[in-house]
């Protein structure tokens, strides 16, 4: 009996964003039926994958509370993409390069975690530092030039598809399932909620608060690395200018999906839906032939309206 209650409670939380996503999609499809062509849905899927992966990482960081956010993913996409391209064009095999990149991005997460847990520097500052440093390093490595000539086996990471669904979407689904499992079904997930809810009490209950926080940053770093590889494969090159502002959209995705910025609350599914809404907007505005000058205006409004409606809906239901 208790169980049922909880479940109904859960599916409920993401209902608002899901409705928002579906109505936006339906609206676009009605006005421009070409929205539903497989090619366009694949385009959309690829975009959702990138934001979705980042948003999952942010969800973990934000859930640990204490005002933690990770500002680095956008720049990290550029840096890891550039580094991967550099490695691959310097003869390092694709799989080795990918592993090195993922190890590096987890390492950056450890760096963030170290500053936040051991030195008690606010996450905002240390990740803002990485935002700036990673952006700078990409420029240093490339002098602004794209690194091209990536092996075609690597490009499959974005451009390949299985039963018509692009590989990035599969990656998102896989990571989503794993991370959702971590968040809801493991001790780590419960500890994360506890730390986000009341750090002191969590500590008094024997939760290793520092380790929990450290892991959230490692996850976020890892996710940025994955997204960086996908983007590099997508562009067939390492591009130093890519990904700016992605972190803000990733955080917004998480919040649209129900993650509380004060910690303790959040869901993987919600964040993916949030990311889908933002990605859909990018696509739909072109589909609907909205003048480019108005794109930003519409995106800003939809974000605010989506969250507002969701807040109001939850409030009305008590």
């Amino acid at each position: 009996m208790f169980r049922k209650k909880e479940n109904s409670h859960r599916s409920f939380k993401e209902l608002g964003p899901i409705i928002a996503f579906l109505s936006l999609a339906a609206f676009t499809a009605v006005l421009n039926p070409r929205f539903l062509t497989p090619f366009n849905l694949q385009t959309l899927g690829r975009q959702i994958a990138i934001f979705g992966i980042l948003a999952i990482g942010e969800t973990f960081v934000i859930m640990a509370g204490g005002g933690a956010i990770d500002l680095s993913p956008g720049s990290m996409i550029a840096l890891t993409g550039v580094m991967a391209a550099w490695l691959m064009t310097h003869g390092v095999p694709v799989s080795v390069s990918a592993l090195l990149i993922l190890a590096f991005s987890i390492g950056v997460g450890v760096w963030h975690g170290f500053f936040v847990t051991r030195l008690e520097v606010p996450a905002f500052i240390v990740t803002l530092g990485t935002l700036t440093i990673a952006r700078g390093m990409s420029a240093v490595i490339t002098r602004g030039w794209p690194i091209i000539g990536l092996p075609s086996s690597f490009l499959k990471l974005d451009q390949g598809s299985i039963i018509g669904i692009p590989i990035p979407v599969w990656i998102l689904v896989l990571l989503g399932l794993i991370m959702d499992f971590f968040l809801r079904k493991t001790i780590f997930g419960k500890h994360l909620r506890a730390v986000g809810g009341n750090e002191t009490a969590a500590r008094f209950s024997g939760v290793n608060v520092n380790r929990v926080r450290m892991i959230t940053f490692m996850i976020s770093g890892f996710m940025a690395g994955i997204a960086g590889l996908i983007v590099a494969a997508r562009l067939s090159q390492g591009q130093p200018g890519v990904g700016s502002m992605y972190e803000l959209y990733a955080i917004a995705s998480a919040v649209i999906g129900g993650t509380s910025l004060t910690g303790g609350e959040g869901s993987v599914l919600g964040s993916i839906v949030g990311a889908s809404i933002i990605s859909l907007l990018w696509n739909a505005l072109v589909m609907l032939n909205v003048s480019t000058y108005w794109h930003n205006v519409v995106i800003g409004m939809v974000i605010v309206v989506a969250v507002t409606l969701d807040v109001l809906r939850k409030r009305i239901r008590g």
């Binding site: 070409r34 952006r135 002098r143 602004g144 700016s244 589909m287 000058y293």
Partner: protein, 294 residues
């Protein structure tokens, strides 16, 4: 310079090479992203440091006027490259302005489409002057034809978004005939989108800059033409002119330069690279000492 971009690193190469050849100390700076305020800030720091000559590519022609005037008052010769600011009192302008380059892109597009078709433009900024001028030139060139601009897409200097937008545009406009790419990564993004959609040959692409990936697509015939503004030349000539101004004086230098009306302008010209003349272009670049490999 204006921002971290392959274009500006070519300018830098020109500046460095000229500096070495002439034996003068040169410094090259760009803000990480187009930001006129940051550029002014930098310009003022340079003035404060007392350099003996400044060449600047204003992110905005009018915003820099007071600062350039200040520099001139302090006896520092100032010239502009790439983008001009004629009212600032700068001595010379070196470059091809973006408007003419955009105009030329439009002319090429007109020819490619035989004066009829639908075009989508991709750019990284709706506010940066170079983007605005290239687009304006393009629009003016196709005026009076049956070429219609369906949409301008702003990717906010994000290559991945440029790709998504190009793909979305292909989906939204099945009858699209051509893309025009304004920033260096726009052309390749459009080429990739066209390739993925299996529309190579059906959709023409005209774009800017000569980064290796663009030339690669030119070679494959996916990009039909790209415009190079010869940034290397701009950098090289700027240093040379400033060097002369210091050596033999401003007036004497100006006397040697081409006069346009009452003004001094060195037109560095535009390279139009197409699948047909690609080899020629590569050879020429090699001769200049900046080989492009891909």
């Amino acid at each position: 310079g204006k921002s971290v971009h392959p274009y500006w690193s070519q300018v830098e190469q020109g500046v460095k090479t000229a500096g070495k050849a002439l034996g003068v100390e040169t410094r090259f700076f760009v803000p990480p992203k187009e930001d006129i305020n940051a550029q002014l800030q930098m310009l003022e720091s340079f003035i404060a440091q007392g350099f003996s000559g400044i060449a600047i590519a204003p992110s905005d022609p009018s915003a820099v006027i007071p600062t350039i005037k200040k520099a001139l008052e302090m006896g520092i010769p100032v010239i502009t490259l790439d983008t001009d600011s004629p009212k600032s009192g700068r001595y010379v302008y070196i470059g091809t302005d973006n408007y003419s380059a955009g105009y030329m892109a439009g002319t090429i597009m007109k020819k490619l489409l035989n004066g009829k078709g639908k075009v989508v433009i991709g750019t990284g900024s709706l506010t940066a002057m170079n983007s605005l001028q290239r687009i304006q030139g393009f629009k003016d060139a196709i005026k009076g034809t049956n070429i219609k601009i369906l949409d301008i897409l702003n990717d906010e200097e994000d290559g991945a978004r440029a790709l998504s937008l190009a793909e979305s545009a292909l989906n939204a406009h099945p009858d699209l005939d051509a893309f025009f790419g304004v920033y260096a990564y726009d052309g390749p993004a459009q080429a990739l989108a066209v390739k993925n959609a299996g529309k190579v040959g059906k959709i023409k692409i005209v774009c800017f800059d000569t980064t290796p990936d663009i030339l690669q697509y030119v070679k494959k015939g996916i990009i039909n033409a790209t415009l190079g503004q010869r940034p290397y030349m701009m950098g090289y000539l700027s240093v040379t002119v400033l060097y002369l101004m210091n050596k033999i004086g401003v007036t004497n230098t100006l006397m040697m330069l081409p006069k346009v009306g009452n003004d001094y302008v060195i037109d560095t010209g535009v390279d139009v690279v197409t699948p047909d003349n690609l080899d020629e272009y590569l050879k020429m670049m090699e001769k200049l000492g900046i080989p492009i490999k891909f």
